[in-house]
Symmetry: none
Subunit: 419 residues, 2 copies
């Protein structure tokens, strides 16, 4: 497999004022073409850091993709940095100059004198035509590394990459293909996932298997290298089957799949509907469920019962239950779920009440305490979770919402599917 590096040039990127979307976009396109990105670099528009970055970028890779620094102003240093790295002078390229002039002519404008520097290129380089803007790209070799310098404006870069770079990379990759797949799990802690997959996660294996964690979701990432897309997919299929065998129903989906969509699929398979009653999550569970197009087939809606009066009036939670146990309690969570199921006419209802913080916690009921109620066609129950008082409000809310969705999915998986 060929290896690539990506270098993004721009002080606004290095200073963190703008998030660079070019590097992840290029890395994903390289992966699809069978080229593995082993490093990304971002540097300010300054000569010294740019020089050292360029020297580092080309170490042990076959391809270097550069974005940015091709504009007409004094802080656009890519042309000079490439010439310096190659030990060559910059030369004027008449064809580039004609293209830049034509770009302005199409807009009925004279070519400003500043733009003439965009027609410069290192002596051994080939310019790449920019069909959407004034900055030509640069194609050259630094030692054995194929270097492509592209504009920083995303749509100009995308067009130039697809037209002029992707075909070259595809040919260079010569059939080598790198494909990735993510399997998302919930309900098994990360160390336990790691233990069950330990042999698959050993270094140097193909496919590679790794894990990452995000607020309760543990994702198993699989990367496979092969000579053809079909062979890479075979490796991914085999690894996915093995991971699913070891983790069972904890695996709820792959790649872009969400826990909410998995709940939806389980509802559809059983011909059932769901309602929600949300206090501390304030509508988040409904929002997650309705992110999935077509969710109206199984999600009927719900009640955001932020005030106790709404818990009483719309969900029928008895005032003495609220008074005796408090709004954040298992009896209230159960009553909310029962009430939402009845009010909305759904088969299942899930309810969340908790303390998302940062204020409102007590010794007895600290921030992070969440009660989740679940009403099914057969029963109503509730359970208490501690998501910790350290995570920020949004993290506690998202953990609570995910746990609520997980509870619904677990209950559905215990019921035979109709299909």
């Amino acid at each position: 497999v060929q290896h690539a590096a990506i270098l993004s040039i721009g002080s606004e990127l290095a200073l963190g004022r703008v998030i660079d979307t070019n590097a992840p976009w290029l890395a994903a396109r390289c992966a699809a073409l069978g080229i593995r990105t082993v490093r990304q670099l971002t540097v300010a528009d300054d000569r010294a850091p740019l020089r050292t970055a360029l020297a580092h970028a080309v170490v042990d890779v076959d391809v270097l993709l550069i974005t940015g620094g091709l504009g007409p102003t004094d802080d656009d240093l890519t042309r000079q940095a490439l010439a310096d790295a190659a030990g060559q002078p910059l030369v004027d390229d008449p064809a580039s100059r004609a293209q830049i002039a034509a770009f302005f002519a199409r807009r009925n404008r004279d070519m400003p004198p500043q733009n003439t520097v965009q027609a410069l290129r290192p002596a051994s380089a080939t310019p790449i035509e920019n069909t959407c803007g004034t900055a030509p790209g640069i194609r050259m070799a630094l030692g054995s590394v194929a270097v492509f310098a592209l504009p920083g404006v995303p749509f100009e870069m995308h067009a130039m990459f697809e037209r002029e770079v992707a075909p070259v990379l595809a040919a260079a990759a010569r059939g080598a293909v790198l494909r990735s797949r993510d399997l998302h799990t919930y309900g098994v802690p990360e160390p336990e996932v790691g233990a069950r997959l330990a042999d698959l996660m050993q270094r140097g294996r193909n496919p590679e298997v790794g894990t990452s964690a995000d607020l309760g979701v543990i994702t198993v990432r699989i990367n496979a290298a092969a000579d053809t897309p079909a062979a890479a997919d075979d490796l991914l299929d085999a690894a996915e089957a093995e991971v699913r065998h070891r983790l069972g129903s904890a695996v709820y989906g792959r790649d872009g799949a969400t826990l909410a969509a998995a709940v939806g699929a389980a509802l559809v398979a059983r011909g059932r509907t769901l309602a929600t009653a949300e206090s501390c999550t304030g509508g988040l569970i409904g929002q997650l469920l309705t992110e999935t197009p077509g969710s109206s087939a199984y999600y009927v809606g719900g009640i955001v019962s932020y005030a106790n009066e709404i818990k009483q009036n719309l969900l029928g939670v008895a005032s003495d239950v609220l008074a005796t146990h408090g709004a954040v309690s298992e009896p209230v969570a159960a009553a909310m779920a029962r009430g939402a199921r009845a009010a909305c006419g759904a088969d299942y209802a899930v309810a969340v009440t908790g303390i998302a913080g940062p204020g409102g916690g007590t010794t007895e009921k600290p921030v992070g305490l969440v009660c989740i109620g679940l009403a099914t066609p057969n029963a109503v129950d509730a359970a208490t979770y501690h998501f910790g008082s350290d995570p920020p409000r949004h993290a506690i809310r998202l953990r609570a919402a995910r746990m609520a969705l997980h509870r619904v999915r677990q209950a559905l998986l215990a019921v035979r599917s109709e299909s």
Copy 2:
């Protein structure tokens, strides 16, 4: 000015499957502390690229910030890479081990054996306590460079940086200050904002002023450089006052402020409460309102009326109105708002019904068509918006939710505040 480098470790980042938000966050925090980030690097979880990246990262900088690779699994290589770079062995840190064990004890769980590797550190390093997770950070020197290795989970990293790293960096920065402020606006189109601020946005000024747009929100970004924090803040204050003078009530907040929080402040100032009725947004407006701690003071809750039965049974929308005008119509939006205000006992209610796509559109009612109803103490009305059929589902939903909040804020601003 001190110079910093940022190194993000993770194959999912290098391959472009996940966008790294840690590096821009750290770079922005460094800028606020007066430290200039000259390079960012992202590398895969592989020994050789990690080794060369680490060697390059420390060139000509004073500080290196590392995120990721501190987890308990075999693909977490940061500890070993730092030890190798320093030519030191890894040693077990009893204090870290005790903290990790205590983390699990607080969750009533035994410490899994895999997590013991997280207590290792290079011999000369100092561990940094992680108050939100199991991975301790690492503080050490590589030559003259101060190195801080932080966890990759954003909220753990943020907490550790603010508590243990920012004070050290602030002391090292000694005076040179770069400060930024964002002013968020809604309701004035970006070209109009640009025209009103044209002279402030000229290149090379201090403070620098720029704009960016995100789904209806136009943000005015101000950066000021000065010798002291107080002098930088004076520049920011003057620029903010001028921008507010030119844009008036379109400015709803600064920096981390949200439109939902601005609605909350306007409600509190008038002693009023709000309810919601959501169809195509599915709970998003409630979620946005309840992101703000203390929102229970003004947001009572609402009804997610995804199914028409819920519009009828819980919001009292008449079946003939639904049949005559369709669920996505101004009469239904108005009836939803009226129903939510009554059912929830609130002073104001806002309702959204629309077609978020990608399916469900017709020639007459295309994807992106959204009707927003507003019930106030005095009146009920509704209006229709076209957010376009090209944006993805989540973008249409967010635009609809923001417009709904904007409508509430507009209605409140027309009423005299009690304070």
